[in-house]
């Protein structure tokens, strides 16, 4: 009994791609679930917010400098 290799190959293709996508889809779902749980129940300690508020004047200068640099970069 001669087996048709091409038919076998096509079967492999559907099985293989199906399994790869199934695996990755499950991975994506569980990854999202994991991230959700971790962010909800085990959040990373946030760096204290107050310290960044004080030197606001400096921040503005820095932002202006960065904006200028980006504009310059885009032109060139």
């Amino acid at each position: 009994m001669e087996t048709n290799l091409v038919v076998e190959g096509v079967k492999f293709m559907f099985l293989g791609m199906g399994a790869v996508f199934l695996f990755l889809a499950l991975m994506i779902v569980t990854m999202n679930l994991m991230s959700y749980i971790i962010h909800k129940f085990f959040p990373e300690p946030q760096p204290s917010v107050k310290s960044t508020v004080a030197p606001q004047e400096d921040n503005k200068k820095i932002v202006a400098a960065i904006t200028a640099a980006i504009a310059h970069h885009r032109q060139g």
């Binding site: 190959g9 492999f12 990854m31 971790i38």
Partner: protein, 411 residues
């Protein structure tokens, strides 16, 4: 001692000694092939493969040296492979045979698939899953690119069935098509399992094409995308917490255990390396895996693969078919990744720049760099590198899963 020597050693006329010496030179062995010389498997070799075949193979290894040194094509692997090939083609010395040192290295870790697993550990310790964790859906691109493997598998069996030139078995066709996964260790792992006789050609094709990613991929990426698509800017990646990175390797391994245990040798080693790195408490071990261990294994792996470049195994028509199918596999994988990104853009949500789809073929991090470079050609401010690392590492997982499927079919 001296009496023993006198018993076994007979005085010879000086002319006979000179004649014997001339008969044992490499020139003589190449010009007049020895009738009783066997290959590494103890089978007879044709005269061509003992004479000109060896000369041709030695010249081919010189070409590999040139590509590695002057053109920078994966020198870390092509140099050991090339030199192994050079040594394996020396007449009379039998370095690639069972008792030669290349043969010993081959049996030490390649015929039992140990080396590719150890390489996977090191690669795992070098991998950062952060970009994937911050944009999980890009993992689908790494899945689509595996179509390069299975599409080529069908191509290879069609060639064997309907053309008189090739006659690959399903095992051989599977081993060849895994080149499309663009993952050297996975290719070697599968080839030693399913078609050890094709190992040399498959490994050389796999690593050469990985080195040629910057040449092969951009034309395909540009042909399949519009100018507007290439300029798509992706949203900034969110911060990924340490705990997420720590849980992820375990999560993937558990999935592999539940769904595809045949893929766990590769995925298990990969995630072991990654887990040690992410714990941050065993920097010594993770550092060894990333540097010392992977370097040592790379030397052994390269030499052992090189021993399969012996003329009688490499200079056969199948090699040409493998090189051809390999590049098809690579191109199809690249195209499938890009097309998948375009399909994802049909759905609502953040748009994906299709240029990162090509990074779904593994080839870490070269394929991601290519995505970044092509993106910058159209918009200098568009940094795609980190976005492309997501599909890139997903591609490694995807090809390990594909390898697991092939292993489970033929078990």
């Amino acid at each position: 001692m001296t009496t023993h020597l006198e018993e076994t050693y007979k005085a010879q006329p000086f002319m006979d000694m000179i004649e014997g010496f001339l008969h044992s030179t490499g020139i003589d062995a190449l010009m007049n092939p020895r009738a009783n010389e066997m290959n590494a498997h103890g089978e007879p070799i044709s005269d061509f493969h003992k004479s000109w075949g060896r000369v041709i193979m030695i010249l081919i290894t010189f070409l590999l040296f040139y590509l590695a040194i002057a053109r920078g094509f994966e020198p870390l692997l092509l140099l050991p492979i090339g030199f192994g090939g050079l040594l394996a083609n020396i007449p009379l010395a039998g370095i690639g045979g069972d008792t030669g040192f290349l043969g010993i290295i081959y049996h030490m870790g390649l015929s039992n698939q140990l080396f590719p697993i150890l390489i996977f550990m090191g690669v795992g310790a070098m991998t950062d899953f952060g970009p994937l964790l911050s944009n999980p859906k890009t993992a689908l691109l790494g899945g689509a690119a595996q179509f390069g493997i299975f599409g080529t598998l069908v191509g290879a069996v069609v060639l064997s069935e309907y053309t008189p030139f090739f006659d690959f078995t399903l095992q051989q066709a599977s081993a060849i098509s895994i080149i499309g996964g663009a993952d050297g260790p996975t290719s070697i792992f599968i080839a030693t399992n399913l078609a050890p006789e094709l190992l040399g050609a498959i490994a050389v094709a796999s690593y050469s094409y990985m080195a040629m990613v910057p040449i092969i991929q951009p034309p395909i990426m540009k042909a399949l995308t519009t100018d507007a698509e290439r300029r798509i800017k992706m949203t900034t990646l969110r911060h990924v917490s340490r705990l997420e990175k720590l849980v992820f390797p375990i999560l993937v391994l558990v999935l592999a255990i539940l769904i595809l245990p045949d893929a766990t040798p590769l995925i298990g080693a990969f995630m072991f390396g990654n887990f040690l790195k992410e714990t941050g408490v065993v920097d010594r071990l993770s550092d060894t895996m990333q540097n010392a261990l992977i370097n040592i294994v790379t030397i052994f792996l390269g030499l052992a693969v090189g021993s399969k470049l012996a003329a009688d195994q490499f200079l056969v028509p199948d090699t040409l078919a493998i090189l051809l199918l390999g590049i098809i596999a690579f191109s199809v994988g690249t195209a499938a990744g890009v097309i998948m990104a375009k399909i994802m853009n049909l759905f609502p949500g953040h748009k994906v720049n299709p240029l990162i789809g090509s990074a779904g073929v593994s080839a870490v991090p070269m394929a991601a760099r290519v995505s970044n470079k092509v993106g910058m050609e159209y918009d200098r401010t568009n940094m795609l590198l980190m976005h492309a690392m997501g599909p890139n590492v997903a591609g490694v997982i995807g090809s390990a899963v594909a390898a697991g499927i092939l292993m489970s079919i033929f078990k």
